[in-house]
Symmetry: C2
Subunit: 424 residues, 2 copies
């Protein structure tokens, strides 16, 4: 039987894994809004009061009763009696009656009785305390109504939203200077392999430094997790099981990156199986790189075995670890991809890239500005040049701007074709 | 004269501002690589040794001398003498002579004399210490050569690169556990306006809470800066000049967000002019929102006056503050946009959006999955629905996924047209 019939496609594999998680994570913590950038709301946030709380002018001009300006034009101005100036940051001490107006600045509070503002440019000061209005304004013109931004009690930010600068500002406008966010997702990282040593060590001949724990820790940080480092476990099943069990009890997710030899990959599966039910869900995925990836779930937590080679480990970190973090954070996931939307660009390929039908390929690419330039429109803007290289070479990825996906049903992508590049 | 002939287009305004900066920032600091995600390299990084440092197998199999396998096939295997097993993480204690092979695991070190590896699946164990080789391998097959990832002395990461998970991994592979990064760009934030109070305060009637200092602080953090808060200055030119001068001496960039009234906007320009030469470079930009934006340079540092309304301030923060930070960090900037590439998606507009010729518009949009779906290709994937609303409403931006740019030479974008949406 051809291999692609026995291995699970990545989208199915991911969906199966996500379906076994106890998500979203229930633990939240109260933090200062000023430090909340990138954090995820743990509950719906309601407006404690309307915004704005008083009617505000959007221009510099004169606050008026709209009907007093009806019919006003350059040739036939309306004449209004100037009764005062609205102080910035204060409440007007007067109210507006028929035939009256008041000087007001952008952001100023409309006096009682006023319904609109005429822009300064459409007025003239004729005599002291008399203003010529050269244009009619409708009720509400140049005014922000009470509650026009948000009404009192309105849900302003839903649960499961990753906070950006705009949301931080919105919270501050409402005086919400602290809020409940989902606690960072704790991801335990275990490296295995007799040949692996810590990066700070000088490897002997035959040894290599641990790369995967650190690329994955950075990935976890980037997606809103907290990496918990469990160091390097030698090729010993008892040690691996013990460390994995400890990580599972202390973390929300556990990642084991296998040593590069087949025996350590088998140990990873055995260790995952020992941690709890259902254990290993998927052993082998129809993708390149990343075929030996193992997905497991134990007691509602994801336990993932990633291949030892650095490119596979990181690419499959994007494909499987990031969506797990997103699901645990409670972010809404795209139905077709099983993950939150990823930043991407459209680019035209510089060469033909063949791919085996039935397998999903992820090819590191370099993005180059297209000679036809930006003006030709979005698609013409970038060229994507594949970086071929054995997937053991970490600097292949360091040179890449993004990953090109070749879907399982395609046998490749042709030169000149536009394709979506997921930015790394 | 029409206004668009007197106001500078945003791209020209930005280029003028950037040309006055002393960039990149010279100060660097030594940090641990494990904390370097998102930081920017302050110098070129060279490989202290080749990677890998020894020839490694990429498969599980038998290390061989290539010529010993020439002509081997299923029907005519080559018979090699098994002399040992390469230990993972160790140096082989033997060398390979004619007619010999050794068991080796993925990632194992090739013994002296071996030039290639035959995959396990292409061999059979015939008799004790004798292996049947069913396929010929060429020199270097299934092997990563010394220095194939990087050669000793090679520049692996240039100065001015923002570090991602892949670069962190590459550094660890080379044992570079600390590195020099550019110090965070210090951006001083000053709010002005008699009507503005701190978010933690209960505003009186006529007062509003400060939003801009916090949206901009988040923006600064996001792009690699460090926000330094100078609080709210009342509408008093002496106080504003004093605070701005202090901020300029302590920071790399100073941002003043004006109160909403015209008088405070004029004060911002006056304060910038007082700080040093050349002072105000641009007063008014042909963009919406953001026309009253002021760009200045004093003693090689950018001083930017942003409009008081929250949407203008944040959109123009993306357009002018972010590129300044990027330039100071030493990131390579795109020639046409003057900024580092921004994540974006292509989307089709749901409605016609008119725009005034000569003016660049930035319209907040919501992205919705297209009913034609992902399979139709990248462009069909998203619909962009503009969010219309007065630009004073901060929750307009909180609801937006991105900004649609309508260039100055366009009079709008039609429904169904594909456009590039800059993700917020």
């Amino acid at each position: 039987m051809p291999e692609f019939l026995t291995l699970l496609p990545p989208d199915e594999a991911r969906a199966l894994l996500l379906s076994h998680l106890s998500a979203p994570k229930a633990d939240s913590e109260l933090i200062d809004t000023i430090h909340a950038l990138g954090r995820v709301t743990a509950q719906d946030i309601l407006a404690p009061h309307p915004l704005p709380e008083f009617p505000r002018s959007t221009v510099d001009g004169y606050a008026v009763r709209a009907r007093d300006t009806f019919g006003a034009a350059d040739s036939l101005p309306a004449y209004l009696n100037l009764i005062g100036e609205v102080p910035m940051g204060g409440e007007p001490s007067f109210e507006l009656n028929a035939g009256q107006c008041a000087l007001i600045h952008t952001g100023g509070m409309l006096p009682d009785g006023a319904e609109a503002v005429v822009m300064l440019e459409q007025t003239q000061s004729a005599r002291p305390n008399e203003i010529e209005i050269m244009r009619a304004v409708a009720e509400g013109e140049n005014v922000i109504r009470v509650g026009e931004d948000v009404a009192q009690g309105q849900t302003v930010i839903r649960r499961g939203v990753r906070l950006r600068p705009a949301e931080i500002g919105g919270l501050m406008a409402l005086g919400i200077v602290q809020l409940q966010v989902v606690k960072k997702i704790r991801v335990g990282l275990i490296s295995s392999g007799d040949e692996v040593v810590e990066p700070s060590q000088q490897p002997h001949r035959g040894q290599v430094r641990d790369v995967n724990a650190y690329t994955l820790a950075a990935l976890v940080t980037k997606f809103g997790g907290e990496a918990v480092m469990y160091g390097i476990v030698p090729d010993d099943i008892r040690a691996l099981k013990e460390t994995a069990a400890r990580a599972l009890s202390e973390c929300d997710v556990v990642i084991i990156t296998a040593g590069s030899s087949a025996s350590t990959r088998d140990m990873t599966a055995e260790a995952i199986a020992s941690l709890g039910k259902p254990g290993v869900l998927v052993h082998g995925i129809n993708t390149r790189p990343g075929k030996p990836t193992i997905l497991g779930a134990c007691a509602g937590k994801a336990v993932i075995g990633l291949p030892g080679n650095p490119v596979s480990a990181l690419v499959n970190g994007y494909l499987f670890v990031a969506p797990v973090i997103e699901k645990l954070l409670g972010l809404p996931l795209d139905a077709s991809t099983g993950s939150a939307p990823r930043p991407s660009v459209m680019a035209r390929l510089t060469v033909n890239i063949p791919s085996q039908a039935g397998r999903e390929d992820w090819i590191p690419v370099k993005l180059l500005p297209s000679p036809t330039g930006r003006e030709a429109g979005g698609e013409g803007e970038w060229l994507a040049e594949p970086i071929f290289g054995k997937s053991n070479l970490i600097f292949t990825l360091a040179a890449a701007h993004g990953l090109l996906r070749i879907p399982p049903d395609a046998t490749g992508v042709s030169a000149g074709e536009a394709a979506e590049i997921m930015l790394l």
